[in-house]
Amino acid sequence: MSDQDYVLTNVRQAFKAAFDINPESVSMETSASDITGWDSVGHLSLAGNLEEVFGITLDVDDLMEMENVRQIVSIIAAKLSQKV
């Protein structure tokens, strides 16, 4: 499994926990418009779940940039590479 696949797989689990949706419905192109509940409150819930799943810390700038799954995967991949 590539690094991106690993991140995407676990991002999907975070989405499932945050929004109670089928993880397979989450693709790299998924954005807030595609998921009911992904509003400002849902966004914080998602961020909290991402931190738990990956053992990372997201700051305010990260939250602002996380507009779709592709950006989320990119941010998380960068954070994970800093941990290594």
Partner: protein, 257 residues
């Protein structure tokens, strides 16, 4: 100025910014205000689809609703909003701060970052927004901070949102005292249990809704439209002597022991 019954609650010739104006209570306020004759600038951030749906309705009904996508927790986002207003409305008749966020978890699972995230939008953004737009607010304009029951009552998993609303209310009261001499009224609009999609983010939503309905004299949740009626009143000339007030729209929930 003497106003007749038709004018009292009208929002004609007023341009009003509504943060979080494309979903839930904010959307209801946007629609109510536009139908009352206002030009509404509806701010949003995340859900482009909801914003586009609102725009489609506004075109269908001939309402004057402009959309402004901006992150109010960032200086860049506030700058974007200011630039949009420069183009659309040099003078404002009101601001309704409805945008809100929060993490709904027990204390053991809350972190300082969750605290910062929540208060950044719910309180700090309101503070920065008023400072940014104060010179555009005309004499007779109205600011409304949308709060919730959790500002004064402890609700399950509502620690951060509730405390942020408490801070928001205190800020609004201080603004009310300071801005009244300038002809700018500031009030708080607070709702009990309201029927919106926001419940989907809350733990044990079904049980909590049932409990609220049981305890509410009206026997039901309040609708977003009913909250919007209150917002319209506060922003209208009918409320010109109402300053620093908390208007509660809760179906009677708050009077119960």
């Amino acid at each position: 100025m003497s106003l007749n019954g038709n004018d009292l609650f009208s929002l004609r010739n007023k341009t009003i910014v509504i943060t979080g104006g494309t979903r839930g209570i904010g959307q209801a306020i946007t629609m109510r205000f536009a139908r009352a004759g206002a030009t509404v600038i509806a701010n949003y951030l995340r859900n482009e689809q909801a914003a586009n749906e609102l725009k489609a309705i506004s075109i269908q009904e001939g309402l004057d609703i402009k959309l402004c996508r901006a992150d109010l927790t960032s200086d860049k986002g506030l700058e974007q909003l200011a630039l949009s207003l420069q183009e659309w409305a040099p003078q404002l008749g009101g601001i309704v701060h409805c945008a809100a966020t929060g993490i709904h978890r027990p204390l053991e699972e809350l972190t300082e970052r969750h605290f910062d995230w929540t208060l950044n939008l719910n309180v700090r953004a309101f503070f920065k927004l008023i400072k940014l737009l104060i010179t555009r607010l005309s004499n007779g304009s109205s600011i409304v901070a949308v709060s919730s029951w959790g500002a004064i009552r402890a609700l399950p998993y509502y620690t951060l949102v509730g405390s942020s609303k408490g801070a928001l209310e205190a800020l609004a009261r201080h603004f009310a005292a300071e801005l009244a001499p300038r002809g700018i009224r500031v009030n708080i609009l607070t709702a009990g249990g309201v029927l919106t999609d926001a419940w989907k983010a809350m733990p044990n939503a079904e049980a909590r809704i049932a409990e609220i309905v049981r305890r509410t004299p009206a026997g039901r949740l309040v609708t977003a439209e009913e909250v919007a009626y209150g917002a319209q009143f506060l922003c209208s000339d009918a409320a010109r002597a109402i300053i620093g007030h908390t208007l509660v729209i809760d179906g009677g929930l708050g009077v119960m022991a």
